[in-house]
Amino acid sequence: MEDEAMFLKQYIQDIWGAIKSLATGMKRTGYYFTHHKEIITQQYPDNRDTLVLPERFKGEVVMIHDENNEHACTGCTACELACPNATIKIITKFDVDAETGKKKKAIDTFVYHLELCTMCNLCVEACPTDAIKMAQTFEHSVFDRSQLTKKLNKPGSKIRAGIE
């Protein structure tokens, strides 16, 4: 008799505990159902104008050009060597100095394969003259893969004076 009473008590306690635990969960979800200010959704393409990415965000490699269309790249290929994926290919040429007539090594084309890049930042770290940096762009979709192979030095640009 005693055992049966204990069993019944335990049985009812179990059910009560179960209902209570379920009600706790429902209270929590009910709270979120009624409190819409907790919603964390960001409506991405709509908030493009207000979207601010941190300045360190690694989106793609770009070459820094100043207002005179001059960059700081000497064509030393440190970045090319640092890159784990052969993303960067630097083609050099020899400029002839107009005054002295000396030949000087300079970049012809800085080829950057965005499709191979893993944004590891090692090239930027390796650059001795801070000629390249990471840009904050991230919408890289294009219709043709060839568009992902980029030429980073702008047409007509030349190396800034004083950078060796």
Partner: protein, 358 residues
């Protein structure tokens, strides 16, 4: 007075005045059929968008918000997509059973609509064994699931179907016993009688604690019967990918999907009819002014309001709880719900005999 019953009566009168009674009956049947199909389509659209919004708000998301005003036409767009999608039949499938199964599910859902009273004096078929009819017909829905699971020739589908079979057969019992509690109190199986008996108060309030227990058991059992989480073992996404409808696509899948939602609507409508007074407005004792205001609200609004409240509760379950395991599911039924509802039925019978209810 613009009420659903008046409209129905006017149509009936007009038809009988203009054609022979046989033709009038046939036209009325066609109208009823079209109305039921229209109701199905509307329910599918409304319940899907409701489920998606409820889940989104519970999950601190916005939910669909692109198609139409506030995303309210999202389910219409989904339906359109499902309509134009190819309905494939797998190579090894039993073609006949595979293609028939979704229609069986739909037909069962349609049959269940017959005895439901949508508003005052607005009912397709007020048969004298309404409650029995409902519990009998709703059991057929398991056949469509078994058919789909077997015919798909897919192991996940088969497992899902077998789970569903075990589940529905068990939970029919306690759902039936919970319904019986109200039948005992009313003394009638006719839906209109049951609603009429709640004129001075809903059974949930009149029947003391035993009826509240019966109501809770009813809600749990019908959640299980309609294969909704936390009892969605037949389609347990993380275990059986999609369970019995793994191989279905396009409109055939949409029919299963629709049947699930219509079934949810129907069981909630039955719950509202039995426990919450169907279309009966909410009355408090002798507060005549208050009761007058309540009477002013149309009966169809009362009915749909109660039904949608119960649907919301079932959705709330779904987005809160984890899923049970198959043996725990059966444990819950045979070790907890069934004994409790049997004992509860005795209590209700005692209340009915002694006339202790209000």
């Amino acid at each position: 007075m613009w009420s659903l019953s008046n409209i129905a009566a006017n149509i009936d009168q007009w038809l009988n005045a203009n054609m022979s009674p046989t033709w009038a009956l046939i036209v009325e049947m066609v109208i009823a059929g079209v109305a039921v199909i229209g109701l199905f389509a509307a329910l599918g659209l409304v319940l899907v968008i409701m489920e998606r919004k409820v889940s989104a708000w519970i999950q601190i998301r916005l939910g669909p918000n692109r198609v139409g005003p506030k995303g309210m036409l999202q389910s219409l767009a989904d339906t359109l997509k499902l309509l134009v999608k190819e309905g494939m039949t797998p190579g090894g499938a039993d073609k006949l059973l595979f293609n028939v199964a979704p229609f069986v599910a739909m037909i069962v859902a349609m049959l269940l609509l017959a005895p439901i009273a949508f508003a005052k004096d607005f009912q397709l078929w007020d048969l004298n064994i309404g409650v029995l009819y409902i519990s009998a017909v709703s059991s057929i829905s398991v056949i469509s699931i078994l058919m789909a699971g077997w015919a798909s020739n897919n192991k996940y589908s088969l497992l899902g179907a077998m789970r569903s079979g075990a589940q529905i057969v068990s939970y029919e019992l306690s759902a039936g016993l919970a319904v019986l509690a109200i039948v005992v109190l009313t003394g009638s199986l006719r839906i209109s009688d049951i609603i009429q008996a709640q004129e001075n108060g809903w059974w949930l309030f009149k029947g003391h604690i035993p009826v509240i227990i019966a109501f809770i058991i009813f809600i749990i059992a019908v959640t299980a019967e309609t294969n909704r989480a936390p009892f969605d073992l037949a389609e347990a996404e993380s275990e059986l990918t999609a369970g019995f409808h793994t191989e279905y696509s396009g409109m055939k899948f949409a029919l299963f999907f629709l049947a699930e939602y219509v079934n949810v609507f129907i069981v909630c409508a039955i719950g509202a009819t039995l426990f919450l007074g169907g279309w009966m407005p909410f009355h408090i004792g002798n507060w005549h002014a208050f009761n007058g205001v309540m009477d002013w609200i149309p009966s169809s609004v009362w009915f749909f309001g109660k039904t949608f409240f119960l649907i919301f509760v079932i959705m709330w379950f779904r987005w809160t709880f984890p899923r049970l395991r198959i043996d725990q599911l059966l444990n819950l039924e045979w070790k907890y719900l069934l004994p409790i509802s049997m004992f509860n039925l005795l209590l209700v019978t005692l209340i009915a005999i002694m006339g202790w209810h209000f």
